[in-house]
């Protein structure tokens, strides 16, 4: 156990020494991995911010519930009761048919048309604010409301919400594809780096084997190198995203002030930050592992 620990500590020290020795190459590697990782992470941050904006600043999703023309005051009261008790309803207001007509009359250029009407063609209506603005939820509410007695028609203004939803979903897909592609690139970069290291250390590997080194002992420094590269790459990505958000937030705040809204890119949480570094470490370790599996066999004297 003691020797096992010393071996690992020694390998880690040797790995750091190797980083220090080939400073330029290592820095470039870290930069490549950091940038590759920063792109999807940045996309993720922007998406998260948009989603947040959509939820808080976007027009609250509304449904208009139109009653039948022959609905009485009691029918309207019954619908009002149901809405009051409904869990998904944030708030609602009642628009009596007379008021609706008056508003219509007031809006530009329609006064003549309204005056020419014999009787009021507009029904009583409720305007309902939903608690959750997801497009799916609004659809469900609509299906439910239209089955109520004396409800003639339920109209929902989901076009905007649906469109944004679809856009965000597309954005998520793009970020995911980007992450997959760049993840593969990260594995490839480590794979190749380790391949070169194995080539330049061929002799040392061969001699070590001949004098009694086990396979894990020979593999260990390369796997460590991969993992450390990944960890530094992850930190670099985190720093890039942080710096990017810092710079952008500056100008975003100005824009936000003009429109009277608070525009700010969201920060990565500590959990997300740790996750990024761990994931990057794992990916590069994987690249190193694949490379070691592939290339150490070639150096095998037995």
């Amino acid at each position: 156990m003691r020797t096992w620990l010393t071996q690992h500590a020694r390998t880690l020290a040797a790995t750091c020494a190797r980083f220090a020795r080939s400073r330029m190459a290592s820095l470039l590697n870290i930069a490549v991995i950091g940038i590759a990782l920063a792109l999807p992470v940045g996309g993720y941050v922007i998406l998260g911010t948009l989603q947040h904006l959509a939820r808080t600043h976007g027009s609250t999703p509304q449904l208009s519930v139109f009653l039948a023309l022959d609905a009485s005051g009691d029918d309207a009261a019954a619908v009002r009761d149901r809405l009051k008790r409904h869990a998904s309803v944030l708030k609602f207001s009642f628009v009596p048919r007379d008021q609706a007509l008056r508003e219509l009359k007031a809006s530009a250029g329609l006064a003549d048309v309204v005056d020419s009407l014999q009787h009021n063609p507009l029904p009583d209506a409720f305007v309902v604010d939903a608690r959750d603005g997801g497009a799916g939820n609004l659809q469900n509410m609509r299906e439910e409301f239209r089955k109520w007695p004396k409800v003639a028609h339920v109209q929902l203004d989901t076009a905007w919400a649906t469109r944004l939803d679809a856009l965000l979903r597309l954005g998520k897909l793009v970020v995911l594809l980007l992450a997959a592609a760049l993840g593969i690139a990260m594995v490839a970069v480590t794979f190749n780096t380790i391949r070169l290291q194995i080539l330049t250390q061929r002799e040392e590997i061969e001699v070590s084997r001949l004098i009694g080194a086990t396979d894990p002992f020979i593999r260990r420094p390369f796997l460590y190198y991969g993992a450390v590269l990944g960890a530094f790459g992850g930190l670099a990505a985190w720093a890039l995203v942080w710096a990017g958000a810092y710079v952008l937030n500056h100008s975003l705040t100005e824009i936000g002030q003009i429109y009277g809204a608070s525009l700010n890119l969201r920060r990565l949480t500590p959990e997300e930050s740790t996750g990024i570094v761990l994931f990057s470490t794992w990916l590069c370790w994987l690249g190193a592992w694949l490379s070691v599996q592939q290339h150490l066999v070639a150096v095998d004297p037995v």
Partner: protein, 222 residues
């Protein structure tokens, strides 16, 4: 103990390097393996260290059948051996000290104890003053001795030396012979492959003579 029983070794390509070779080497014995170039000396030593596997027959070292050893067990066999290679296999990117410490790092020695042992080994071969020197700056004889230091630093019970006096003049060869004899005297089993008749004469121990992969029978003395 080393024991070969009816060992044949055929390399891919068809060369029969060893044909029906049987012999034993007792513990603490010193044995020479002699023969011309191409006789099969190197192959014989490689079989002992499981660097090559026999085509048929058995190679047994300390009760362990080396020829059928699992791959994962091979490193532990080699840690009990001191191997001196024909081309000495020194690493030219590090100094003498770092070359010799390699077997100890592999086993995971405490670094202070390792340093002590490396200096003892370098002292034994007369290279203590060259511990910071790179192998490229050493003479042929010094490189040989450095390789010997690396082979003995972990104090193996068995030393296998392949042509340790190649490219070394007669006087240095004799010194190297004395060095091996001193290991033998402290109880190490020593197997030396050589085509150097002078060294063989100087050491005057039992010889296994190879010719084209077979053992030349000893003629009874008259």
């Amino acid at each position: 103990m080393i024991s070969f029983t009816a060992v044949c070794k055929r390399y891919p390509g068809g060369v029969e390097a060893l044909k029906d070779v049987s012999f034993t080497v007792a513990d603490r014995e010193m044995v020479l393996v002699t023969g011309h170039s191409g006789a099969g000396k190197t192959t014989l030593l490689k079989l002992m260290a499981a660097i090559e596997r026999p085509t048929s027959g058995s190679v047994v070292i300390n009760g362990q059948n080396v020829g059928t050893l699992r791959r994962r067990a091979i490193p532990f066999l080699r840690r009990n051996l001191g191997l001196i290679f024909e081309d000495h296999k020194l690493l030219f990117d590090r100094n003498a000290f770092d070359n010799v410490v390699l077997p100890l790092n592999i086993v995971g020695y405490d670094s202070r104890e390792a340093a002590r042992r490396v200096r003892a080994a370098l002292d034994k071969v007369g290279l203590l003053h060259k511990e910071r020197a790179y192998p490229i700056t050493l003479s042929g004889g010094e490189q040989r001795r450095l390789a010997i230091a690396r082979a003995i630093v972990h104090r193996p019970a068995m030393l296998l030396a392949d042509d340790p006096t190649g490219n070394v003049d007669a006087e240095h060869a004799r010194e190297l012979g004395d060095l091996f004899r001193s290991f033998h005297q402290v109880g190490v089993t020593v197997v030396i492959a050589t085509h150097d008749a002078l060294l063989a004469q100087h050491l005057a121990s039992r010889a296994i003579a190879l010719r084209s992969g077979g053992i030349v029978p000893e003629f009874p003395r008259t």
